[in-house]
Symmetry: C2
Amino acid sequence: MSDRQMHLGVFVLGTGNHVAGWRYPGAADSFQSLPVIQAIARTAERGLFDLLFLGDGLSADPNAHPSFTVRFEPVTMLAALAATTTHLGLGATSSTTYGEPYTVARAFASLDHLSGGRAAWNAVTTSGAGAAANFGRRHPPHAERYKVAEEFIDVVRGLWDCWEDDAILADRETGRYIDAAKVHRLDHKGPYFEVAGPLNIGRAPQGQPVIIQAGASEPGQEMAARSADLVFSVVQDLDEARAAYAALKARLPRYGRRPEALSVLPGVMPVLGATRAEARAKLDVLQGFVTDSNSLSMLSNRLGTDMSAYPLDGPVPDLPLPDTSHGFARTMLAKARRESMTLRDLYNLTAAARGHWVLCGTPADVADTLEEWFTTGAADGFNILPPYFPGAFDDFVDAVVPELQRRGLFRRRYQGRMLRDHLGLLRPERRFCRGQAAGSPA
Amino acid sequence: MSDRQMHLGVFVLGTGNHVAGWRYPGAADSFQSLPVIQAIARTAERGLFDLLFLGDGLSADPNAHPSFTVRFEPVTMLAALAATTTHLGLGATSSTTYGEPYTVARAFASLDHLSGGRAAWNAVTTSGAGAAANFGRRHPPHAERYKVAEEFIDVVRGLWDCWEDDAILADRETGRYIDAAKVHRLDHKGPYFEVAGPLNIGRAPQGQPVIIQAGASEPGQEMAARSADLVFSVVQDLDEARAAYAALKARLPRYGRRPEALSVLPGVMPVLGATRAEARAKLDVLQGFVTDSNSLSMLSNRLGTDMSAYPLDGPVPDLPLPDTSHGFARTMLAKARRESMTLRDLYNLTAAARGHWVLCGTPADVADTLEEWFTTGAADGFNILPPYFPGAFDDFVDAVVPELQRRGLFRRRYQGRMLRDHLGLLRPERRFCRGQAAGSPA
């Protein structure tokens, strides 16, 4: 048995990750109810999960997945959870396309302080023109979005490093509150941002909050290799996942990073039953709740093409996909070709887990598969996407987690209090801000 | 005895409102410690306060008040408090100069949902060039900042009204999650913002979160009359406060609003003792902690002029103040002229409460004065600024609140769960968004 341990995240959508999961008997049906999310967080902490994770979007389409239409703003949601959890990592998406580096740096540094070192930022470029219309802007093209994102991340990391760890004195005797020599300006001037700093909050408990990346395109992978501690990936096939895992890890040395510095967590929706037949029946019930308009809207969104023109029981059309498309699109179309799917099959796949991998079986089946992926170079752990809450997540924590523990693949208790502790990452030294002391003339 | 009741807020700075309050024996000395703020919130709720309030700033000056240099991001801070309080209103400053209306609307709607209807937004224009340097922009002039702010507030209120109250169906039988006919686009196009909407969160429990305004300039007063539910004011003198109160209330009818629709809460720092001598001694101890560099930095900031050139024991110079200056500047200079202060006296005044009113005496003295202000047309309640935490706030809640209750001036229990309930404000009808249904073609 190796000492290497899986990392587990839970992807939280209040109405369940399955597009119609909220219709399952006993399922929660809201993503704007604090008690629903607090119960999920308690379960995740009972299951010793590394982190709970929230996606985000900057527009509302009434035909989209219910939890993508109506949701809490993620950082406020996590701040509320920080007060009612003790160990669980708290990760949220925040856009580099429609945000400001100073604002994002503050929000996640604040969350890290509020939670005692459990914050993680999923740095994304926002795709889709809906957001642009809410921010009064032309939506920038893909390549430019990634250039903006790289600079954005650099600025945020620089702001997080403005304060030396011992800059706050709070010395009652002398009245000196701050050692100004240990607070540094950033004085960043780049093509997209000019940010003077320093940030108005001390260095975070984790030094730097954890950075997550989830983009599958070429510049997304490069950004991950350069800056991310954690990657959420989209997979459908073991061989493809191994190749992607190896390719990503191979990018790290050029940034002076060891492969272990970055954990890759594919998304997976477990559908569990005491028998395989029971699990299959549960998935059938869920799929039976799907309406065509749900699937059509989601599939068109995932593929970036209006799919309403194609016949439902015909073959999946051979769509051209640029390298800049969503990882979802490429992964799903590859699977459709491998398995000679009809468009209806693809609809169903999208409705189930929005293009993520669905794993249906007994707890032992699911543990077998996760073990195989984990031990054969396809994953460092998994981002679990329960189809509905709370039942489907309880099933995973109560049945699969103990099975993984018995096999020596997953922790039996938390080893520390911070997310970096769970991920086996050291607290980084200050290195992203080299500006002069803030008290000095600019 | 009238039925009219005072409203009380507490202005939270973790190191105390007094610039050197953190040096007082037993005082908290951090504004980035969650337990410190949670204890303040518990005390405020025990004291049946209407709300707890956090200011904000978008830059860090190591010579400023400690809590203005190192602080939590306010909305994340309040979200954490939402999970550990049940009745207390939660208000925070967020800038209209360096924010985005869609982002601000989401954050406060989310906070309103998380807290069950207790959110309040203090809509400010950011003054000071430090912020501009952190957002890569030229700092806009005062008049333009207010034009931006007015449009910003209109957009936020419009976004809050995109969803009808019963738009979310979550009907398990039919699978209809949303009634798209009840979700409206905003389609705002103005000189400063273009925002399509709808917002991606349902209508807030309060309908519209409470809006706070704190600017004393002419456009600030007009903005308050037009849009605010609550005003925090800066006062030093009863007659001046009465005149300002009457002038502000007189502006409301032109916006079709009754005087009771807006509550005016002057800021006041109570320094309490069992005897007047004890209270005075406490204030002396606090003032003894002040260093010249503290006062100089704060006074220069408040007056918008570098004061280091003037002799400390000479008269307060006759500075020209444009109408666009801080309310602090005008109020403090008027007091200095009335009382023939030296510059050192003005330093001390600034250090104590940053230009706010200091009220020093026994609990009965303080209650007498608050009653006089409340019953003679100077205030609808008060924003309490304890010089340090937790002791000075405990003193107010334990000694002054019961005195106000005995006099029939303050509630003996909460009458509802939402901030609007505490303020006696009805839940507003949807009226700021008249766009067509979001499912319709744009």
